[in-house]
């Protein structure tokens, strides 16, 4: 679940709307790593006398909605107290985990009223059914990566394979998987295979015409449909690379920057590296 800005048919205590005048609801979440699990220490913060009383009377309560879309895991933790501790097992969660705090009605509420409501609601009461959202806090997210996942280098997120054809064909790139898969025909692949364990200079030259355009292609796809790819391993690795430039791989970034620029940053300037590589190969030739 992601909290989206929308209007409700009843007053909601939320910093995005002015249904309440001087009240406040939010929560602090502290995340701790434990053995094979995460511990969330949640502290709900509420400042509204009537809602506090309703919690004491067991009419409404705090909830934290937790979802890990990648593993189809979705649960709700309820609490009448401001403090809540939640344990999330590694088995269930992976990728982006979203945490959404709410206050909801524990039961049907007749004549729901609050003296801090905006004047628009003056003299109005509401019939509220069980489970209705009465207050919304700030959504928080955190990311869980697989243990021992190597996100430190770009080659680790590419798989290069041979297409069993001798026909002349363009290189193919597939990105709907944890690694980006690049396919090329037999003759290209066999030549590529020879360079695989070659000198750093040659690898840099190959990367500049193989990996670099593939990254530009990836950024173009991200511009079209950002959310479809955010759970893949290559995506997370690219985010780690961009963090070096104090950038975060999000929708704003891919729409505001050119794919060309982002791809070069990810690879720490492949064109310069390739030229350096060509330069040193020429030197070797001259020495011969």
């Amino acid at each position: 679940m992601d909290i989206k800005y929308k209007l409700y048919p009843h007053p909601v205590l939320w910093d995005k709307v002015d249904d309440y005048n001087n009240s406040y609801f939010d929560c602090d979440i502290e995340l701790k790593r434990d053995i094979k699990k995460f511990i969330l220490k949640v502290n709900f913060k509420l400042n509204n006398k009537e809602l506090e009383e309703m919690i004491e009377k067991n009419l409404i309560e705090f909830v934290l909605h937790i979802e890990s879309p990648m593993t189809s895991y979705r649960i709700l933790k309820k609490s009448l107290s401001r403090e809540l501790q939640v344990s999330l097992s590694d088995e269930n969660i992976l990728g982006r985990i979203s945490l959404c705090p709410f206050i909801v009605a524990k039961q049907e509420l007749k004549n729901f009223y609050n003296s801090d409501w905006n004047e628009d609601y003056k003299d109005t009461t509401f019939e509220i059914s069980k489970g209705t959202i009465l207050a919304i806090g700030t959504q928080q997210t955190f990311t869980v990566d697989k243990e021992n996942e190597d996100l430190s280098s770009i080659p680790s997120i590419f798989t290069i394979y041979k297409k069993e054809t001798t026909e002349e064909m363009p290189v193919e790139v597939e990105i709907n998987s944890d690694k980006v898969r690049i396919g090329m025909n037999i003759s290209d692949y066999d030549k590529y295979a020879l360079t695989k364990y070659s000198t750093e200079e040659i690898v840099n030259i190959v990367n500049s015409f193989l990996i670099y355009p593939a990254l530009i292609f990836i950024f173009e796809r991200l511009k079209e449909n950002f959310n479809e790819y955010s759970e893949y391993r290559w995506f997370k690795a690219m985010n780690v690379m961009l963090n070096k430039y104090s950038m975060k791989l999000d929708e704003d970034l891919v729409t505001s920057k050119s794919s060309l620029e982002l791809a070069q940053k990810i690879m720490s300037f492949p064109v310069s590296k390739a030229f350096l590589g060509i330069g040193s190969l020429e030197e070797v030739e001259e020495q011969k």
Partner: protein
């Protein structure tokens, strides 16, 4: 018994070479996979790895002329056997591509109704591999779909843990696609409530058609805009859905 996943390099290779291997998918065994991969991979490494969990022996139902009608039974057989694999493992293309190309190769030919006449690249790509975003692929891949439907409907507290599966007995795939396209069905309580509501309505002699079914999904979506669906118990949500169904059909 042991099940097998396909190694990353092998998935990339076979997924990228469907065109040249297409007719091999009509073979009655999968020996060709290892033969091909040995030639490709000079290290003579196997295309498959053994999955670390021991799985109880099972065999899927392949008895009906209409393979889609076995899905209902096969969810039960398959999920019960593979219940111990984790959610994370069950989102991995390598596992489902691996089983499809090895342990359950015969079943795949049966379930996808592969024949010389109808085989094509798209069919292989979509059924033997993941061809969409991760979440959608989990309900499109025939094996992943059996497991995930089981995972999202199984209720160990019930005498019949697969009670909620009843409504999916007919027209399994279509219903599964519409139901599991919404994020709220990630909560098994919500998925079960919807399916049990539908089953109860049908028990009273009314056939919920496609339009009626989609309307109920739409209703649950709308309801989720104001209340937290996860907050309601299975029965509470089920009752709301049934009530809504009768309300709109009364007014029509």
């Amino acid at each position: 018994m042991k099940i097998h996943f396909m190694k990353e390099d092998a998935v990339a290779y076979f997924k990228g070479n469907i065109k040249s291997n297409i007719n091999l998918y009509l073979n009655d065994n999968y020996n060709w996979i290892e033969e091909k991969y040995r030639v490709y991979n000079k290290d003579r490494e196997s295309a498959f790895g053994e999955f670390k969990l021991e799985i109880p022996k099972f065999s899927l139902d392949m008895s009906n002329e209409k393979p889609e009608s076995t899905d209902y039974n096969n969810v039960k057989i398959f999920y019960c056997a593979l219940k111990n694999i984790s959610d994370i493992q069950a989102t991995d293309e390598r596992l489902w591509a691996g089983m499809a190309h090895s342990d359950l190769f015969q079943f795949m030919i049966y379930r996808c109704k592969l024949t010389k006449e109808n085989i094509n690249e798209k069919k292989i790509l979509t059924n033997f591999f993941f061809n969409y975003g991760k979440k959608r692929s989990l309900i499109v891949h025939p094996l992943a779909r059996l497991w995930w439907v089981g995972r999202l409907l199984y209720d160990e507290k019930k005498k019949d843990p697969f009670e909620a599966l009843e409504y999916l007995k007919n027209d399994f795939s279509t219903k599964v696609f519409s139901l599991f396209s919404s994020n709220f069905t990630n909560n098994p309580t919500i998925s079960r409530a919807i399916l049990k509501a539908l089953f109860e309505i049908e028990l009273s002699g009314i056939k919920v058609d496609r339009k009626g079914y989609l309307e109920l999904i739409r209703y649950v979506n709308l309801l989720g805009g104001v209340i937290i669906l996860d907050y309601l118990s299975e029965d509470e949500l089920k009752e709301k859905i049934i009530k809504h169904y009768y309300n709109i059909n009364k007014s029509n």
